[in-house]
Symmetry: C3
Subunit: 245 residues, 3 copies
């Protein structure tokens, strides 16, 4: 059993953040909220998504698992107005999700979860450095780097967080000291990441006040922020690229 | 003789509503206003368009008929500002239409009406059910249906008007009771229509308060609304599709 | 030595006005400001660009010449907010330009000026007629003409400035009398210009109050207006087309 109502824009934002990683997901439904763990097809990025029951206007659920095509949901939500309420109810047998948006009733066929890649194991990483910054700053640096290169170097050196991209001839660098950051835990950290992935991942951070980045030396980065006014959270784990000289 | 002045946006809206059916039209000019009847090239949709002299700031006309390429007019009006006045005057011999928009004078060559498909005969239909609803509601249902299917079923059942689209796996349905409608004349009605045509036809209804739909059982639908603040009217007649099972 | 700071939008507008003529330019840097003279690859249009030191918030420079790819600069400035300050500094040896926008540091490799077409000689022309008009009026006439033709005839006849385009069947004409113009110096003038070029050239005039046009009979046109609130100026010289009958 699953029956819930939620603000349309909030749901849109949450699903958009997840959709940058995969198209088809297994959603775990529990009495305390819904969650997803998914890996992108190339095994480079992982998304860990949690939306607690408090994000919903109404929420009641038993434990179950459903398979969903995120593009279909995004498409349907495209018709909703910002302040519409989206009502969802799982049909007996978990084969169909009934969605009501402003009087329009959708009957969405669900995917068999067993046909979707299983939940990945989240690796335990010891990431020595941690930086908390404004999401818009992060997004702007990534956009600037994209103009110049395919890769972005991110690191912490003493009390400074830096992002740097090098093109064939040009270079862009952003440095943020402790004063310009919301928080900084210094530690040895310097890793290179694919801008293809980063650009997608930071898209939803544009309206996020605090994004936390955990970094190591040639290690994956953990990008982590709250969604739904604190009622949910999304974390991305992105594998590093090895610099070819 | 034809000489008229009209608000640019009002003219744009009126022509846009007509242009969803055909590109080239015969416009009938009379002392009391202008009118067009046209059928789309595939004979599926008919548009019946009337714009009375009261829609114009200035209007004086003898009876005549001109042939016009609607795309050209739309293109020229694209340059007009919302509140510009468009002045039109037919040249002696009805070969050219002089159009003035904010000091810019266009000389538009007209088409020989005899080269354009003749006015169709409007069939007399006995459509038992009639629904009056807000244009934005209609447009939203059609947009939602398009995400899922190529066809939309529209009907009246007891005191409820419904629109329903079925895709391979998913389904969308809008039901509106007597309370949610502006008016309802109940009657046996249930017909299937091509969303290709419907999507075009309902585009101009987005800012229309009252759209009236007349329906029958596997019969054409008559979609009808006022334009130009009541000084004009456009009706579309759309042939039904037969459901292939 | 060159070190300067300037408002991001002002710089964007100035470079956009220049970029309609060429992609790669030699910029002459002098203590009193920067300047560019460039001809388009087909030798049809010339741009003469000057931006005085007063356009900058900070400015200090020795004489030098640098080669720049305008598209790269436009691309980077795309990330700047309207009110950001852009700081630029030339590296020792004039090989790289350091650009800082809101904490993001770009290192832009410059082009060897000797690989860029040399500054053209600006011809001395005796253009008898001169018209000063609002930039938005000019832009609107050019946009209207583009709908109909590839060429625009511009001329002065008695006390009237006119622009006229003829298509295969249609025609558009704008006439402006002395009263509708900011200034008019009457003189024999009537020349035909390519709308391909004109459309690009008048794009930046949309927010310009006074654009001056100097014209002759089958002669180039000089289009001239202030940029950066009067601290700079751009002039375009566009060669006439010969009307093929």
């Amino acid at each position: 059993m699953f029956k819930a109502a939620i603000n349309a824009e909030l749901l849109k934002d949450a699903i958009a953040a997840l959709a940058v990683i995969v198209d088809e997901v297994r959603i775990k439904i529990k009495p305390e909220g819904i969650s997803v763990k998914a890996v992108d097809p190339a095994n480079v990025a992982m998304g860990i998504f949690e939306l607690g029951s408090s994000a919903f206007d109404e929420y009641s659920a038993d434990e179950s698992e459903i398979g969903i095509d995120l593009n279909k949901i995004m498409d349907l939500l495209g018709i909703a107005e910002k302040n519409d309420t989206v009502r969802m109810e799982l049909e007996e047998g978990n084969q169909k999700l009934l969605i009501d948006v402003g009087g329009l009733s959708y009957t969405l066929s669900l995917l068999d979860p067993s046909t979707i890649r299983a939940e990945p194991r989240v690796p335990q990483l010891d990431l020595p450095a941690k930086v908390v910054l404004n999401g818009a700053d992060l997004r702007r640096a990534v956009k600037a780097a994209e103009k110049i290169s395919d890769h972005l170097l991110m690191g912490v050196s003493d009390d400074t967080f830096y992002m740097e991209a090098k093109g064939d001839t040009d270079q862009v660098r952003l440095e943020m000291g402790r004063d310009q950051l919301i928080d900084l835990k210094a530690g040895e950290a310097c890793s290179l990441f694919s801008l293809d992935y980063l650009a997608d991942i930071v898209k939803p951070t544009n309206k996020v006040n605090e994004v936390s980045l955990s970094l190591g030396k040639d290690f994956p980065i953990l990008i982590d922020f709250e969604i739904a006014n604190g009622a949910g959270r999304i974390s991305y784990l992105l594998a590093p690229r090895i610099e070819s000289e």
